[in-house]
Symmetry: C5
Subunit: 361 residues, 5 copies
């Protein structure tokens, strides 16, 4: 419901807080630049827009409906209807949420509508309030400024997700836990959501930047192209986060299996050593009357010695099978495959030398 309206007349005067009549006059003058920003869109806003601007019913429906719509651009001849998405930083969810910004972009007006207050739009509003600068280069540049701010504000989230991925990769190798699994799942779902928004956003900005719509002047193309490049970069980074989450999930399983082997080896060694010895002790604990060894002078000490010898020999045997060594691998750091990408300078110089010799220069 709350909305603000600005009108920059052809003479460069900035008016604020227009009532419905003024707004209509400004709209129908087909001069200057009219900006209406609606926050927290309702059905009445829809009727208001239809009544005053005559926008197409379906566009207004997309605009006021609380459902999520993919980024897109629809050309209605006199104006474009653009949906772009940004991050909603007021969201309480621990999975990334995106919010829509709906834009009606005509040669002399911009109508922006969103369901939650948007930082990015707020920063533009503030500067318009100050000196009207973002409105002075025309409707296409005003829309550009809003979309650019929206897209750039996704970056801090990507950075945060990247930090989390770093933490997950560390944990997955060195202490895989159930909470790691949860963090991986959340990261993955967040990347999936971002991807679902970024993919059509990329297409939308591509269309906006390549001269398909006359409402966007030729001078603005390179600017829209610049946002397009940013979206591509965001999508790339997001895709790489998704790959890292996938890797982490697969690695967690392997890491847990490794750990289990460690545990099982301890158990097996213990059982293999002590079960037979317990049998031995059990045999000499039997109560048969005729057990000649029992009366031997050194029988007890022979058995003790045998038990001691078995323990020592078993240890050596397991050692020979590298199990004991295995038991300690957790602490060993194999350096053979570490720092993998250091190429020796000499090799590189030789390589470059080879190139320098090529005759084609």
């Amino acid at each position: 419901m709350p909305f603000s309206a600005y009108y920059l007349s052809a003479e460069g005067d900035l008016r604020r807080g227009l009532d419905e009549g003024e707004l209509r006059d400004a709209f129908e003058s087909r001069q200057g630049l009219l900006w209406v920003d609606i926050c927290d869109t309702t059905e009445e806003d829809g009727e208001y827009l239809e009544r005053n601007f005559g926008f197409h019913h379906l566009a207004i429906e997309d605009c006021v409906s609380p459902l999520v719509h993919s980024p897109k651009v629809d050309d209605f001849g006199d104006y474009l209807f653009i949906i772009v998405h940004g991050i909603n930083y007021t969201s309480e969810s621990d999975i990334v949420q995106t919010t829509e910004l709906n834009l009606f972009l005509g040669p002399h007006f911009v109508v922006s509508a969103h369901n939650v207050p948007l930082y990015s739009v707020g920063s533009i509003t503030k500067r318009v309030e100050e000196d009207g600068r973002p409105m002075r280069r025309g409707a296409d540049f005003l829309a550009y400024a809003m979309i650019d701010a929206l897209v750039d504000n996704v970056m801090p989230t990507i950075d945060r997700m990247s930090d989390i991925a770093e933490g997950i990769e560390e944990e997955v190798i060195h202490s895989p836990q159930r909470s790691t699994l949860e963090a991986i799942l959340k990261l993955k779902r967040s990347t999936l959501r971002l991807h679902r928004v970024m993919a059509p956003q990329r297409e939308t900005l591509n269309r906006l930047s390549r001269g398909e719509f006359p409402i966007i002047s030729e001078k603005a193309h390179i600017f829209y192209r610049d946002i397009y490049d940013h979206v591509v970069r965001l999508e790339d980074l997001n895709q790489s986060l998704r790959d890292r989450a996938d890797n982490a999930l697969a690695t967690q399983l392997s890491s847990v299996a490794n750990r289990q082997n460690e545990i099982m080896k301890v158990l097996s060694i213990v059982a293999a050593i002590f079960l037979p010895l317990a049998l031995l002790a059990g045999i000499y604990g039997m109560n048969f009357e005729n057990m000649p060894e029992l009366s031997w002078q050194w029988g007890y000490f022979a058995v003790l010695g045998f038990i001691g010898a078995v323990v020592v020999i078993a240890m050596m045997w397991f050692g020979a099978r590298k199990w004991i060594k295995w038991l300690t691998w957790g602490r060993r750091r194999v350096s053979r495959l570490s720092r993998p990408f250091a190429v020796e300078p000499e090799k590189l110089i030789d390589y470059i030398g080879h190139i320098a010799k090529l005759p084609h220069l």
Copy 2:
């Protein structure tokens, strides 16, 4: 077999329950709008359609055959043959089923045929019965109304599936069971089925919305485009459900493996502590005559003390190896990676400040 026929004459009169002769007259007048809706299509319906409307044999075959056909649109010059799919809510299966709606769309007639009663068609019928409104804008808008209702009615199913995915993700981390596996499999199969229908449906609606067929008037294009957007959104949501099911399956395995580690650690610790001690007790249970320790005054208490000491020391050793701590991790909640996407406001403001400084506005 049961079918209903409506005819809206060029003068705007609505007639119902036409017999075969009237229907033929209406069809041949090439005026007004004739709508025939057939529920539970049989071979006789096929012959009826061929006799009265002269539709192509192959289209009728697709229409009456009980086999499932992918969404498509065939252009027969005078009319289009369209197959679209919706959800059949009367189905007893716990895997999502879709049902076909077959449409013959001409400039002055619509023939719709389906094997089960469809909610979406029913709602249109009801409103036609009331005031004939859905028929007043022409054949292409009547077809639009039916397809739109059909597509929109997929949404509650997607919502239900989304709830289930939420439940599965919870269960998979906190209590992975066999029934979770079953639920994952069913969810996955449902998304696969929906996908197989939605992908060609999207293509079909794309073709209907871009002016390829003159039977669909230019004014209707944006409306078909709107359904197209809905199908794209449904497919996106469905795809994301499928990704979530895949993740859940991979996570279940990891989660079960984690749980097994827990169990194995308990077992290993128990065995490693008590097997050696049992051997000790066994040794002093041997019946050798010459066992000097047996007659020692404090021998028994020394052994008891030793056993107690071993238990304590073993506990400490396992503690040092962090196993005991591990045993309890199930209850610990590591908060380091939680709430992952909260970006500190200051950081965001700085970031926006940086943007505001950019000279290009």
Copy 3:
């Protein structure tokens, strides 16, 4: 080697069993329709075809070679060389096998060649023998009839595979065995084989149906398009079988891991209860002279009572950790996530009500 030749003259007479001279005359008359069907193709057949029909060497090589060739259509100007695949029901293998049907299709002749007797061709032959009907609409319709029969006869195999997939999905959750693995592998390989054949077959039929080749008359396009639709459906179903096999493989692993947890829990509980108790009994089985408890009146009964108490307490502790409950989960059926896709009627009606209110109709 065995082959049959039919000639339907321009006057509508059907001749059978033509010798080489007659066949040549018929071929060179460029009238009527000549059909030669060769079963179990050999090198001599190749020479025969080259001598009498002058087909291109490479086409004949593909035709007589025992190697498998992908479906394709080659345009030699005067005639088309078409390879399509069907199921060989005489095959003994338990992995789906496809067989080639090679067709030379000219304006006035069809030459079909295959290495094994084909049901589909057989059914056409039989009807030609009866009344010549499949030949009366021309060469392109004869070829259509054969390809259509071939493609439709893949359906029973898909149905059979679908039954098997159902069985596998059941087994994978409730009793995963080694033979289940084998069945999955075989199903997967069968779907892969079908896919390798269906993908180019789809492309081949697409080309045949879109008017690329003048030998196929315009009237026949819609018929070829119909086969194309069938191939698309078969490929869809096959793809879904493949997805189900993949899911089953991943689920089997998870299911086996779940089962192992069950087993390990039994083992761990048994060990954790009885190993310490055995130590206790062992302690009182030691033969030290000075063991005051041994002479206590109620020592034995105290120990017995302690053992009983430990068993009871341990059971309760494991119960508290939900392990005992776990042990029984195999039989429990969690109904929370079952019947997942039933949407409550009221919800649906509301939803439809919402649609009905939309002003655009």
Copy 4:
């Protein structure tokens, strides 16, 4: 270095072993067909080619460089530079290696260069030495003959890999071992290598066969198309080997997990039966003075009987839980899902009967 030169003059005379002058004359006559074949290419060969034929520096660099280059075709106007790959059968590696064949193809000359002797080129050389036949149809046919031989010689390797895949699939189910893993990894890497070569090779041959280059005469197109078809088939088979290797890897894991369940069940049953009984024996081995049962006449026999009864009852209990049956499933062969694709003849006949009834023929 070693090279052979052949010149077939316009009159049909074949000359061998040309010196540099003769070769130059032949090249500059722009008549007949000159073929130079260089084996084991060196830098000097590069200079030789640049001096005598004036080929572009970059093409020569690709030709003499020991690095691997992807299959491609470069059009230099007067001549084409083609790289195709075949199998090097002299390679010692147990992973499939491919070798390059570099071809310079002009209207009146072919220069072929390769780093190792190639069987396929050798067979052409031999026939040229005999009667010059492969050179008589022109440069494009000579190049065709070499590429065709090269591509066809990949087939025996694919056959060998297919045998290995068969062996792996057998082993993976019935005796999964570490060496099976190794074989899978090697097979997978071989298919990946082949794929990396076959994919661009397919594109290269597609371009050569579709009339893009005037140096390749129209008559030769169908022949190049034929090689293209072979490459497509090879790639299909290779892709299917890769799928089988992937399946085998996933199955190995499941199979090993199944096997582990078997082992764990044996262990659990043994522990669950004998640990409690050992406790019982331990109890009656205690040395308390007041243990009334010890003096009972039949106490010992009662205990013996109890132990026997427990073993029998435990067996029955595990049997009831189907574990004993499980223990034996390794040998059982469940036939329910075997021979999966046999369709009963009656069903097929009915199905065909249904088709035959269709009115459209």
Copy 5:
């Protein structure tokens, strides 16, 4: 900040170390070739470039911003703005890092900017200092030289990664450890990073090589095409490294599972043999008064003999179940599937013989 400027006048004189005025004159003369190389780009450099060269604000922003930008080429009419990536060998990270090289390429000038010293640019600078040769063929060739050196210098890194992959594959089968997991993760992330850079780099070079931009002369196309081929090769190799990392991850899991089976079998055999025997010894250790066997003369020896016999029989039974053999498989090398791709020469010769017989040559 540090930058070097070279000017090769139209007369062929090379001047170095130009001040701002000279540089401006050189730039505005629109003759000869001006090269400015900026290392460690700062905001001031951006202003400098805008002031003296008048480059577009957005291009300069991309150039000076410390964020990573994907490879791309923007056409500003008078000049191209190109971003390409190479490896930064001074990086300390053990995951592959790439660095940007920003190029402004006009008909008579090249401005290169990078944030760290680049080996590849350094080698060009050195040769320009010597004799100016890389500048003598024009701006497009100078840019080519830099991009070529940059791309070729990625090769040593790929070689190093390939060595690591080799080591990982060895370790994964013969001694899978936690550090192997870490190495796999790092290798995978490195390949992902390279891929993200190489994919757009490939597209960028494709555009530069196909004559889209008139600033790049026709003579230079084949040279840019050559870099394009190198990028394709690098991407292929990188993709194959990624596949190998994926395989290694999957194999590690299987390998660890195999190893665990080994361990579990040892444990199970030990338990199955010694637990029952310990029960036996325990039985005869009971203190019942009436245990007739105890007074038998040979009772003790019978029990001893029975224990020995059980051990022997158990060993044989496990042998019959192939477990003992299994225990040793670690050392066995199954040769059946090794050296998989050796095709017997005779088979190959026959195959070639078959080809030679084909009549089409």
